[in-house]
C-alpha cells in the first residue's frame, strides 16, 4: 500500500449524498448497517399499467436540507439532487464558504448520469407530439439543445457552487459515475487538478422504468443479490459526490481524509448492449486492472462492494469474475442495492461512498433479502453487518453496453491525516 512511484496520491476528503435511506453519511450509514430497506411502492409516476410497482425513492426530494428556498423553487429535481450532494461534499471536505460556494475556485467537476431528469422531458415530449404547437416544440428543443437533461444540472451546480474549472458529464450507463471518479483520479494524477468534485446523479424516471419493464429485468418485490431466488433489480435514485484531492493539496492545508484512491480499472465487454459477457470477461478485466493500478495482489483486498443488481445474468458473471481474480479466497462481498435499489448512473458513486465509509467504520454493511447463495454465484455474501479489519475495499460497477469500472480504496496511511 505504498504510493506508486512519481504519481500524486489521491485522497477522498469529502462525502455528500442523498439516498432512499437518507441524506448525509450520519443518516445513511446507520440505516445501511442496520439493514434498512429503502424500497417501497413507486409514487413518482403511475405504474398501474406496468407489471411491477416497486422502487427505492428519495423521500424528501422537495426539501433537501442544504438548499435555499430559491434553489428549491428554481431548480429542477435533477439539479437539486446533484447540487445538494455536491455542496454537502464540499462542506464535508472543508472547502465550502459561508456563502455556500466553494472557497477553491479551481475545483474540477465531473458527474456520471444515465439520462438526468427525464420525467419532465417526457411530459414535454408527450405534449409536443399531441399538440405539435410551437411552444411545446420550443420546450423540447430547449431540453435537448440548450438545457440538455444530461448535463444542464452540472451548470446549475457549477453556478451555485462558484466552480469555473474543468467539468464534464459521463454517461456510461450504470457505470457512469465510476468513470467520472476515475477521470477525476486521473486528472489529479496527471497534475491537471488539485481538487475534483466527482459523483453521480440519477432520478427514478418513467422512461427507464418502462424500458426495464420491457426487458423484464425488474423484480416484483425486492432485490436479492447473488441469491438463488433472485428475480431482478429494483430501480432506485441517488445523488452522491466525493471530493477527491491530491496529497499535496491536503498537506498544504492540513486537511484530513477518509481514504485514498489506490487504483481504478476500466474495460469494455464489446459483447452485447445489455447482456454481460457470459464468462464475466469485462468485470474480471476491470478488477484485475484496478488491482494492478493499485499495485496490490488479490489477497490484499479485504472487502468488496459489488455491483450486485439482483439480475440472474449480472450476479452470476460478476461472482464468476471475482472467483477468477481472487481464486478460492474471494473477500467478503456486500451488495447494497438490496437496500437502496439500483441508482443507475449514480450507483457507482454511492457504492464508492459505501466503500469509503466501510473503511472508516471497519465494517461491511449487509446484503438484505439474501437467504441462500446461488451455487452459480460462489462468493461469500455478507448477510449481517460485519466488523472486520479493512485496509482496502474494492467497489465494482457495470453498465449497459458492457462498460465496467472498478475502484480500489485504501486506508489513509498517515495517522494525522485520517478522519
Amino acid at each position: 500500500m505504498t504510493a506508486r512511484a512519481g504519481r500524486p496520491e489521491v485522497y477522498v476528503t469529502g462525502l455528500g449524498l442523498n439516498t432512499p435511506l437518507g441524506a448525509g453519511a450520519e443518516a445513511f450509514w446507520p440505516a445501511l448497517v442496520a439493514g434498512t430497506s429503502g424500497v417501497g411502492p413507486v409514487t413518482r409516476f403511475d405504474t398501474r399499467w406496468l407489471p411491477v410497482h416497486m422502487a427505492a425513492q428519495i423521500k424528501d426530494l422537495d426539501g433537501l436540507r442544504n438548499l435555499s428556498t430559491e434553489e428549491q423553487k428554481a431548480l429542477d429535481p435533477a439539479a437539486r439532487l446533484a447540487l445538494s450532494a455536491g455542496r454537502a461534499a464540499l462542506a464535508d471536505a472543508g472547502w465550502l464558504g459561508a456563502d455556500q460556494r466553494s472557497q477553491h475556485g479551481a475545483v474540477d467537476l465531473v458527474f456520471g448520469t444515465t439520462h438526468g431528469d427525464l420525467n419532465e422531458h417526457v411530459v414535454r415530449c408527450k405534449r409536443t407530439w399531441e399538440t405539435q404547437d410551437l411552444a411545446s416544440a420550443l420546450e423540447v428543443t430547449r431540453d435537448i439543445v440548450s438545457e440538455n437533461v444530461t448535463y444542464s444540472f452540472l451548470y446549475q451546480m457549477a453556478q451555485r457552487l462558484g466552480l469555473t474549472g474543468w467539468q464534464s458529464t459521463n454517461t456510461n450507463a450504470c457505470a457512469a459515475s465510476g468513470y467520472a471518479l476515475s477521470l477525476a483520479v486521473e486528472r489529479i494524477r496527471q497534475g491537471l487538478a488539485d481538487v475534483v468534485l466527482a459523483g453521480g446523479m440519477d432520478l427514478l424516471a418513467e422512461p427507464d422504468y418502462t424500458g426495464f419493464c420491457s426487458l423484464r429485468a425488474m423484480a416484483p418485490d425486492c432485490c436479492r443479490p447473488f441469491d438463488r431466488a433472485r428475480r431482478g433489480l429494483i430501480m432506485g435514485e441517488a445523488g452522491a459526490a466525493l471530493v477527491l484531492e491530491s496529497g499535496e493539496s491536503l498537506r498544504q492545508r492540513g486537511g484530513k481524509a477518509y481514504a485514498r484512491v489506490l487504483g481504478y480499472g476500466w474495460s469494455s465487454d464489446a459483447y452485447h448492449l445489455s447482456t454481460p459477457h457470459p464468462e464475466g470477461w469485462g468485470t474480471r478485466q476491470s478488477v484485475a486492472l484496478a488491482l494492478k493500478d493499485a499495485g496490490l495482489k488479490a489477497e490484499e483486498i479485504d472487502g468488496i462492494v459489488a455491483h450486485g443488481t439482483g439480475t440472474p445474468g449480472n450476479d452470476r458473471t460478476e461472482a464468476q469474475a471475482f472467483r477468477e481474480v481472487f481464486g478460492e479466497r474471494v473477500p467478503p462481498v456486500t451488495a447494497p442495492k438490496s437496500m437502496i435499489g439500483h441508482a443507475m448512473g449514480a450507483a457507482s458513486a454511492i457504492e464508492a461512498v459505501i466503500g469509503v465509509l466501510s473503511l472508516k467504520h471497519q465494517t461491511l454493511p449487509p446484503t438484505i433479502n439474501h437467504e441462500e447463495t446461488d451455487p452459480e454465484c460462489p462468493v461469500e455474501v455478507v448477510r449481517k453487518a460485519r466488523s472486520l479489519r479493512l485496509r482496502t475495499c474494492l467497489t465494482n460497477s457495470s453498465g449497459f453496453g458492457g462498460n465496467n469500472d472498478s475502484l480500489v480504496f485504501g486506508e489513509v496511511a498517515e495517522a494525522g491525516w485520517r478522519r
Binding site: W49, H115, V140, A173
Partner: protein, 397 residues
C-alpha cells in the same frame, strides 16, 4: 513532461461526404451539405433546412445485421471501420488495446417511447429500441462491431463534447489505458427532432435559404448530423509501430462561465488561452482558426470578442464550417478537427457560406472564399452557448 499524443487516422461521415478528403474538397470548392428536408407530414409547409447524411448507411456497412442500430450508431460504426483501416490497424488490432471516447447526445425524443408511455401500453415498446436509446448505445455498438475492449466512454456535454472526447482520449492514453483510442463525436437528427428544431429556429426557413451562419443576425441555426473520429496514440506508440502520423494534438483548453448570458466571451477566451498555453504557443504561431460560429447571435458575438482578445492583431484566417454542415452538436468538435487537419494538409481553408454580417466577419477574419494558409497549426473552437467553451490546438504533420 506530457507525452505527445498524435493522430494516426481520421474518418468522418457528414452531409458533404464519407471521407475527410471528399468532405474537405467539397468545402474548399464552396459546396454546401444543407438541403431542404421534408417535414410536410408534420404540417410544415415551408422549406426546412438540414445538413443530412445522404449515404445509405446500412448498405455501406454490408446490409444485414443493422436493423436495431440507431442512426448515430450506423454513422459511428461506418466511420470507425474506415478509421481502423486508415490507421493501418486492421491486421494489428488487439481488442484489449483499443479504447473509444464518443461524444453523443441521447435520442429519447422518439415517437415509439412517447407513444408507449402516453398510451400506457408496454407492448408498443421494442426492448431493443430501449437499449438503443441508452446514451452510451452508440459507443457500445462501435465496441461490439470492432471489438474495442480497453474501455468505452460516452461524453454528453453538448456542443463541446466532440473536443472533450479528444481531450479525454489523450488523458487515457497518457494514463496507459489503451494503445489506440478512437475519439470523436456522433449526432443524428430524427424527424421529431428536426421538426422541433425547425419550429424553434424557423426564421431560417422563412428567409428561404440555408442560413447556418448569419453573424449578428437573429438566431438562425440550421441543424446537421454526422460523425467524426480520430485515431489517437502516444507518439512513442505510433513511432514504434511505424504508423503514418497525420498530426498531433498540441494543447486543449476549457473555459466555464456557468451563469453567463448575452455574449459573454469569458469562457471562450479562457479555453483559447489555456489551449495555447498547454501547446506552448503564442497566438502568432497559429495558422488558422476553425470557429464554432453557428449563427446564434450572442454566441457568435461572444466568440468574436474572445478571438479578438486572445489574438489581438495576430488574428489568422478563420472559417466557420457550420455554414455548410449545419450545427452537428456533439459531432461538431471532432468533425471540425478532422477537416482542419485535412485542410492544413492541403494548405487551404474553406470559405464560410451564408455570412450575414460582413462587419463582424471582417473582425475575426472570416472569408467567403477558400484561401491559402501558411503553417500547419490550427485552433478549433466549440462553444456550449456562452457558458462553456473548449479549444484544441492541433498541428498537421
Amino acid at each position: 513532461m506530457r507525452e505527445r499524443v498524435v493522430v494516426t487516422g481520421t474518418s468522418l461521415v457528414c452531409s458533404l461526404g464519407a471521407s475527410p478528403e471528399e468532405a474537405a474538397n467539397r468545402l474548399l470548392e464552396g459546396g454546401s451539405g444543407l438541403n431542404p428536408c421534408g417535414l410536410e407530414a408534420l404540417g410544415v409547409k415551408e422549406a426546412a433546412w438540414f445538413g443530412e447524411v445522404g449515404a445509405d448507411l446500412k448498405q455501406a456497412l454490408g446490409g444485414k445485421g443493422w436493423r436495431n442500430h440507431n442512426r448515430a450508431a450506423l454513422m459511428a460504426c461506418l466511420a470507425a471501420r474506415e478509421l481502423r483501416k486508415e490507421s493501418g490497424l486492421e491486421q494489428a488490432w488487439r481488442p484489449e488495446d483499443a479504447g473509444l471516447v464518443m461524444g453523443y447526445n441521447h435520442n429519447i425524443f422518439s415517437e415509439e417511447f412517447v407513444e408507449t408511455i402516453r398510451n400506457q401500453n408496454l407492448s408498443l415498446l421494442n426492448p431493443a429500441f430501449f437499449l438503443n436509446i441508452s446514451t452510451n448505445a452508440t459507443a457500445s455498438q462501435v465496441t461490439i462491431y470492432l471489438k474495442a475492449q480497453a474501455f468505452a466512454m460516452t461524453v454528453t456535454t453538448g456542443f463541446t463534447a466532440g473536443l472533450e472526447a479528444l481531450d479525454q482520449a489523450a488523458l487515457a492514453l497518457r494514463a496507459g489505458r489503451a494503445r489506440w483510442v478512437m475519439a470523436g463525436g456522433a449526432e443524428e437528427r430524427n424527424e421529431q427532432f428536426r421538426y422541433s428544431f425547425h419550429q424553434a429556429f424557423r426564421r431560417n426557413a422563412d428567409a428561404g435559404q440555408a442560413t447556418a451562419l448569419r453573424l449578428g443576425a437573429p438566431n438562425q441555426i440550421t441543424a446537421g448530423e454526422g460523425c467524426g473520429l480520430m485515431m489517437l496514440e502516444t507518439e512513442g506508440e505510433a513511432r514504434a509501430r511505424g504508423a503514418r502520423v497525420l498530426g498531433g494534438l498540441l494543447g486543449s483548453g476549457m473555459g466555464v462561465n456557468p451563469g453567463a448570458k448575452g455574449g459573454d466571451p469569458a469562457a471562450a477566451e479562457a479555453a483559447l488561452r489555456q489551449a495555447l498555453k498547454q501547446a506552448g504557443l503564442e497566438a502568432r504561431d497559429v495558422s488558422a482558426v476553425f470557429v464554432a460560429g453557428n449563427g446564434h447571435a450572442s454566441q457568435d458575438q461572444a466568440e468574436a470578442k474572445a478571438l479578438e482578445r486572445v489574438f489581438g492583431g495576430n488574428l489568422p484566417p478563420a472559417t466557420a464550417l457550420k455554414g455548410a454542415l449545419g450545427e452537428t452538436y456533439h459531432a461538431h468538435g471532432t468533425l471540425a478537427a478532422v477537416l482542419a487537419l485535412e485542410c492544413l494538409r492541403q494548405g487551404r481553408i474553406p470559405g464560410t457560406l451564408n455570412l450575414g454580417d460582413a462587419g463582424l466577419a471582417q473582425r475575426i477574419n472570416l472569408n467567403r472564399e477558400a484561401r491559402a494558409v501558411s503553417g500547419k497549426r490550427a485552433v478549433v473552437l466549440a462553444l456550449e452557448q456562452d457558458r462553456k467553451a473548449a479549444a484544441l490546438v492541433l498541428e498537421a504533420a
